[in-house]
């Protein structure tokens, strides 16, 4: 069972993740994007960006890096095999662009129990190398109880 006392706990900031141009293209194709601004450097630059722009849900890759530290935390006691993704939101201060070096820091925003199940909401702040906020990712995981 999820330990409700981890509500409010903040985990250490992750090491920087360097966003690669080919990674953005690979991710964009995987989410079926056809936008030239995801794929073509010249199209992205014509639209005013320094390089190709990541799809809005690419921030999940960065979020995942801090989520793994919670899932590994014995104190939190979250059984990943019982986890279902409940909801997800990305609030972008600016889009992620190839060349960005991003760190993420996760806080357990809330833990709610519903019978045998628990709903855990995480808030992950993603910052660039200049310590400017790029994206806030909010994710709720539903942890199914043992039957």
């Amino acid at each position: 069972m999820v330990n409700a006392s981890v509500e409010g706990k903040t985990y250490p900031e992750t090491d920087p993740y360097l966003v690669g141009r080919e990674k953005i293209r690979e991710f964009a194709l995987a989410v079926q994007s056809t936008s030239p601004i995801n794929l073509d450097v010249f199209a992205a630059q014509a639209a005013g960006y320094s390089d190709v722009v990541a799809p809005p849900t690419f921030a999940v890759v960065i979020q995942e890096r801090s989520l793994s530290s919670v899932l590994a935390d014995k104190e939190a006691d979250i059984d990943f095999s019982r986890v279902v993704h409940g909801d997800q939101r990305f609030i972008h201060a600016r889009p992620i662009v190839a060349g960005d070096e991003l760190t993420s820091q996760l806080t357990v925003a809330s833990v709610k129990t519903l019978g045998a199940h628990a709903m855990v909401t995480f808030e992950t702040k993603i910052h660039d190398a200049n310590k400017q906020l790029v994206c806030t990712a909010i994710s709720t995981l539903v942890v199914r109880g043992e039957e």
């Binding site: 990674k23 690979e26 991710f27 194709l29 995987a30 989410v31 079926q32 994007s33 056809t34 936008s35 601004i37 995801n38 639209a47 960006y49 722009v53 990541a54 799809p55 809005p56 849900t57 999940v60 890759v61 995942e64 095999s81 279902v84 993704h85 409940g86 909801d87 997800q88 939101r89 990305f90 609030i91 972008h92 600016r94 889009p95 909010i138």
Partner: protein
């Protein structure tokens, strides 16, 4: 970028629709691109063992594909300033037939002052909604 005159928009107006055919290949491609290698997204035996009816698409793949309807409309993925969904139903992806995901975008709210339009997205599979409250805020 596509030029959109915010004053000409109306709440409820459809901005576009997309029909995707998702296959197991789509799931494996998304697993590799995202780093989410949960085997329920490619192995029937493991999906069954954890009580699922079969292999299902990553919720994040459905979420990522669904927002393309708003991106195609505005013409710039960097203008999606806020995007959230609830995962309400799984998208089962048959090994042979795959699955068809239908996405429709409509104008949900118009904020002229801040030049933001909320696009409400419906995503369904065999007439069953798979995302709830899927909303993308787009900077015009």
């Amino acid at each position: 970028m596509t030029h959109i005159n915010i004053a000409s928009l109306e709440v409820g107006q459809e901005i576009g629709s997309i029909e995707y055919r998702l296959t197991r290949d789509s799931l494996v491609r998304y697993a590799g691109a995202s780093g989410d290698f949960n085997p329920i997204h490619y192995r029937d035996d493991i999906a069954k063992a954890v009580g699922l009816d079969g292999v299902l698409a990553h919720g994040m793949l459905t979420m990522g594909a669904a927002v393309q309807v708003a991106i195609n409309w505005i013409g710039d993925p960097g203008r999606i300033v806020d995007y959230g969904v609830r995962f309400t139903k799984p998208v089962f992806v048959d090994g042979v037939k795959g699955a068809v995901l239908t996405v429709i975008g409509k104008v949900g709210e118009i904020d002229v002052e801040n030049s933001i339009v909320r696009i409400d997205i419906t995503a369904s599979c065999a007439d069953v909604a798979v995302l709830g409250k899927a909303q993308a805020r787009v900077r015009i």
